[in-house]
């Protein structure tokens, strides 16, 4: 349908579109150390893109996410700890940027509520059971497996 040169023209135009699109897709970061690479994967997953609709840095294509990933990369290579890197991000963008809520006094309720809930129900149940168990027999009834 298209002549050879027409096809080539389209493909070049096509690719120019790609290269100039500012939201780049997959960024490549070269690591020599596999531990650093693992830490990078981990950090970019628990850091939130400040302007996206609920994406982490790893999944996000936005310019800001690219820059933040670059910063994580540089800091890892310069020897900073995970804690320091997360603190850096929090200092500038607030706790919003942390998908993993910190373990501090402000978040005490957040982290403990599920456990408290479970314990409350459990104790409530045990209490009820102890008070109401006088009306059953321990006779072995016919087996009924469904």
């Amino acid at each position: 349908m298209f002549s050879f040169s027409m096809k080539k023209l389209i493909s070049i135009l096509f690719l120019i579109c790609f290269s100039s699109i500012s939201d780049a897709d997959i960024q490549v970061f070269d690591f020599n150390d596999e531990t650093l690479e693992k830490r990078f994967s981990h950090l970019t997953v628990i850091l939130r893109c400040p302007k996206c609709q609920n994406q982490n840095l790893s999944d996000s294509n936005s310019i800001l996410s690219q820059d933040l990933k670059q910063i994580v990369y540089e800091k890892l290579n310069s020897g900073e700890s995970d804690k320091q890197i997360l603190f850096f991000m929090k200092q500038r963008y607030g706790e919003f940027i942390l998908f993993d809520p910190e373990l501090n006094r402000d978040n005490a309720f957040l982290w403990s509520a599920p456990l408290i809930f479970l314990l409350l129900i459990l104790f409530g149940f045990i209490y009820w059971y102890k008070n109401n168990r006088n009306n059953f027999t321990r006779n072995i009834s016919e087996s009924d497996n469904v």
């Binding site: 302007k51 310019i63 800001l64 820059d67 933040l68 929090k90 500038r92 607030g94 008070n131």
Partner: protein, 186 residues
């Protein structure tokens, strides 16, 4: 369980559940109107971050935060790729005339040619413009989009961040009263 406490439990449960229900309803109703995308600035009440950034016209001129000392500064974050910035820019023509404030531009993540073209075509109302090509200064400020505007007092403390266009309404109703307040503090 004693009869007394049982009766109390029976009365308490509906009251408790109804009150939780009402509170939940009010809460969600309020929540519906809120803007979910707005992030509060972490810099409010803190000092301007230290920086060394080149001027957009002349890369041999390096600006630092020391130039802000003693002045009330408005840092306006803009870029040629930001559509709203074209809407906002004409307002600065008027607002930059205000004698109390010094308007500084922060060109964020742009190319020099496009930034200069913007200033040439739309007008340059900034006292000076920082050329933050890599966006690192923006990150120090906690910038997450454009346009954004930061109000910094004469002691170098960040007092307010506005996300979005600073039109006349925003300038008169939010910025100016804060500027007055800062003037009174000195």
């Amino acid at each position: 369980m004693g009869n007394e406490s049982q009766k109390m439990m029976n009365k308490l449960t509906p009251i408790l559940s109804i009150s939780i229900f009402v509170v939940a309803f009010i809460f969600f109703y309020w929540l519906i109107g809120e803007d979910k995308t707005e992030l509060p600035s972490q810099l409010i009440g803190r000092s301007t971050p230290a920086f060394k950034v080149a001027d957009v016209y002349d890369s041999s001129i390096i600006h630092t935060e020391k130039e802000f000392e003693g002045k009330i500064i408005l840092v306006n974050v803009w870029a040629s790729w930001c559509p709203s910035c074209y809407n906002e820019h004409p307002y600065w023509k008027q607002h930059s005339k205000n004698k109390d404030i010094t308007l500084v531009g922060l060109n964020y993540r742009d190319t020099k040619e496009k930034a200069l073209e913007f200033l040439h075509q739309q007008g340059d109302f900034y006292q000076w413009t920082l050329f933050d090509e890599k966006g690192r200064l923006g990150i120090e400020f906690g910038v997450y989009g454009a346009p954004e505007t930061y109000l910094i007092d004469n002691k170098g403390k960040v007092r307010y961040r506005h996300v979005g266009i600073v039109n006349t309404k925003v300038f008169n109703e939010i910025i100016l009263p804060l500027v007055e307040k800062i003037k009174q503090e000195s």
